[in-house]
Symmetry: C2
Subunit: 265 residues, 2 copies
């Protein structure tokens, strides 16, 4: 068993040790028992699912629930269930385990490369090109750099719109999808609702749809849209556009929205 | 075993026979082996999950994948897995079975009643009140009536915006949530993309978030927003507003978008 302190990059974070058929372990751990970042767990779960797909099918969507807090100083085991291998789609379910308990449960779907009709209704917001923007040091993310753009909801605790790109170039589109998943949980569209008393906190669920092939090493505009807060929960959706304005991914998340304890998320 | 022809109403459709602990059967069947309507399966799956929750917690979200076509002339069995019962949330996973195969796999989350901060970013589109609109006979749905409103994308195969209300009044908020789930899969936001050659067809996944308590018997404005079509798949989101403009539910769906075979969906 190889358990190392967290040093390295996103490629190391996405590296999983095969334990048995359908069973993998992420050995990328931190020195302190932080709460595990949801994007890390979702990205590793997607990687585990993809490691059971051997015909080149690529992920087009995932849906997950965060069931228990994870501990960043412990390895996480990923167990994959092969729900279906059909003619053009494959379905997988993955549970992420720590201390014998499920901390995250996810379903994902993979598809053969397919052509066909192509259209897009949503337009990328008008923002300056990344080269014209000041750096945004995205907190907590490995191997990512960011750029600041004007904020649609003014000054909020977390930007809801920013450029990001991965400092690593992958030669495997599965790793690109995992890197986008890793990025997709870092912000929150809910900061616009935060008050002195209430704020967004832990993610409850997370879903990602990969509409078009995208390279994580290219600049992607991340745009989060707040929708609603009620009954201790908030819901937002997000989009990722490449610099030519193609919508490459969408995501949706519900998160706790409660009285502040430890300051803004 | 009681298997009847499909006659009755939405209450009968949502009625499940308890087979064993965590195991239920929907005996509401049709005379012909139509492809099962996804909203029926999702609504029954949510009902099955709720039948394993006995402390008054209510559903706040569900995420499901349609894995195989269902047969409307056969009963469907729902097996529930009690993923977690926490302090304020309960998580359930449900598989819908026919012929020993999983046709639908869903996760859902339930929550204790909770107050707190309340806000809403999205506004209901400006439309005439239901009383001022002509009837829209919503195809295929039991116990629902509809009203036509102006269409944001012009004349398309299926309206992306309409009023709907259930003809039944439930005294159980779980049944209201199931009725909203039943309704939520009937339209498609993708009709705006349809061409003479390509069209939206089978649902791949479906997710619903229940933001606020809502009665299915009240008029709800259903508004579908198309986002993207690529690689044989289309993605749209939807909103349900009550007549006062409160956002009561959101949903998201990816569906196949391929060359037409049997005409528009």
């Amino acid at each position: 068993m190889t358990v190392a302190e967290a040093s390295g990059d996103l490629r190391d974070l996405l590296d999983l040790e095969p334990i048995e058929v359908n069973l993998f372990r992420a050995n990328f751990v931190f020195g302190d028992p932080y709460a595990l970042y949801g994007g890390q767990v979702a990205a590793q779960a997607l990687r585990a699912a993809a490691l059971t797909i051997d015909d080149g099918r690529l992920p087009h969507s995932l849906h997950g629930y965060f069931l228990r807090p994870g501990n960043a100083s412990s390895p996480t085991v990923y167990q994959v269930f092969r729900d279906r291998d059909g003619r053009t789609f494959s379905a997988r379910r993955v549970v992420a385990l720590q201390r014998g308990e499920v901390i995250f449960s996810m379903s994902a779907s993979f598809q053969n490369a397919e052509g066909g009709f192509e259209d897009q209704e949503v337009a990328m917001p008008a923002v300056p090109a990344p080269e014209q923007c000041r750096p945004y040091p995205i907190p907590r993310l490995f191997s990512y750099e960011g750029r600041q753009v004007p904020q649609p909801y003014g000054e909020v605790d977390w930007p809801t719109r920013f450029w990001a790109r991965c400092e690593l170039a992958f030669d495997d589109p599965v790793l690109d999808a995992c890197a986008l998943t890793y990025l997709s949980d870092i912000s929150t569209g809910l900061a616009r609702f935060n008050t002195a008393e209430f704020a967004s906190s832990s993610s409850l669920d997370h879903a990602v749809w990969f509409h078009r092939p995208a390279r994580a090493a290219d600049w992607l505009l991340n745009d989060m849209v707040p929708h609603s807060v009620s009954a201790g929960r908030g819901w937002y959706t997000g989009s990722m556009f490449d610099s030519s304005g193609r919508l490459v991914a969408s995501f949706a998340q519900e998160a706790l929205f409660r009285k502040r304890r430890n300051g803004p998320r």
